[in-house]
């Protein structure tokens, strides 16, 4: 499987490690009133779609960037790759 790194071009999947769904970026506010419930959902509830899925991949033996990879779980086709920090910043995060 080849992942098209936004900065480095096509890279073999052996250079990456997989973390999980890209929703892990959206860590809840620990000071919220219902923080416990939010963290329960954040940690334990996962979508398991047969089709398009957004995932976090780490370019471990490359430039050590975190990427958000949009992959079809049925065909393994990768349709989009973004830098995870760009995705986080679009959501108003500072880093």
């Amino acid at each position: 499987m080849i992942i098209h790194h936004p900065l480095l071009g096509p890279r073999d999947a052996q250079e990456f490690t997989f973390l999980g769904a890209a929703t892990l970026i959206e860590r809840p506010d620990w000071q919220a009133e219902d923080a416990q419930e939010q963290f329960h959902d954040y940690l334990h509830l996962r979508d398991n779609p047969a089709g398009e899925h957004r995932e976090l991949w780490f370019h471990e033996t490359g430039d050590r960037s975190w990427l958000v990879v949009t992959r079809n779980t049925l065909t393994h086709e990768i349709t989009n790759v973004e830098m995870a920090r760009d995705v986080a910043r679009q959501k108003g995060r500072s880093k």
């Binding site: 480095l8 471990e60 920090r85």
Partner: protein, 188 residues
């Protein structure tokens, strides 16, 4: 005062040099290293300070630049590795920090790494056995981090087709050396 003897990453007092059918694989302990990471929102300041203080145009992804006595590799977004001769720049991290001020964080890296230089007409044959980097398309000044025999290494093209450097973790120096020598013996 302690009387300590400096040893190379391969554990000897002299750099290890192997020659296999015209291909030279040389350990290079004669370089000091320091990492640079631009602080949040300070990338432009870091690039400007490196230009003013070190004469270096910090390179974009996949490249390294040389401005004697310094060289700089791109290692990640807004991160670089600076290289200079060890004899004259043993305190490289201090020199780089003085040049960059509070625009970037600088860390001493000299003894964290081992560098081997591959020299000869058959570099591609050896490297393509070991890693994914498309060395045949690399020009002088191209550098990339990739996986080489399960070890993450920087592969840099110093002279197109003829001279490459492989920089990996010092703690894996002997494994990396073994991988390079074995690949050279197989390929050549």
């Amino acid at each position: 005062m302690h009387d300590l003897i400096a040893i190379t990453p391969m554990g000897a007092t002299d750099a290890r040099i192997d020659t296999i059918k015209g291909m030279k694989i040389a350990e290079r302990p004669d370089f000091a290293l320091a990492s640079v990471a631009a602080r949040a929102g300070r990338e432009t300041d870091t690039v400007d300070a490196a230009k003013t203080g070190l004469g270096l145009d910090l390179p974009p992804a996949g490249r390294f630049v040389t401005h004697a006595p310094y060289a700089a590799f791109w290692t990640g977004p807004e991160q670089w590795l600076i290289e200079a001769p060890h004899d004259s720049h043993e305190n490289l991290a201090d020199l780089v920090k003085a040049a960059l001020g509070d625009a970037a964080s600088v860390t001493e890296q000299t003894d964290g790494w081992v560098r081997f230089d591959l020299e000869g007409a058959e570099c591609h044959a050896v490297l393509e056995l070991l890693c994914n980097a498309d060395t045949r398309r690399m020009k002088a000044g191209d550098a990339t981090r990739t996986q080489l025999e399960h070890m993450a290494c920087f592969v840099a093209c110093r002279t197109q087709d003829m001279r490459f450097s492989v920089t990996g973790a010092r703690s894996s120096a002997a494994s990396l050396h073994h991988a390079l020598v074995t690949a050279a013996q197989s390929a050549l």
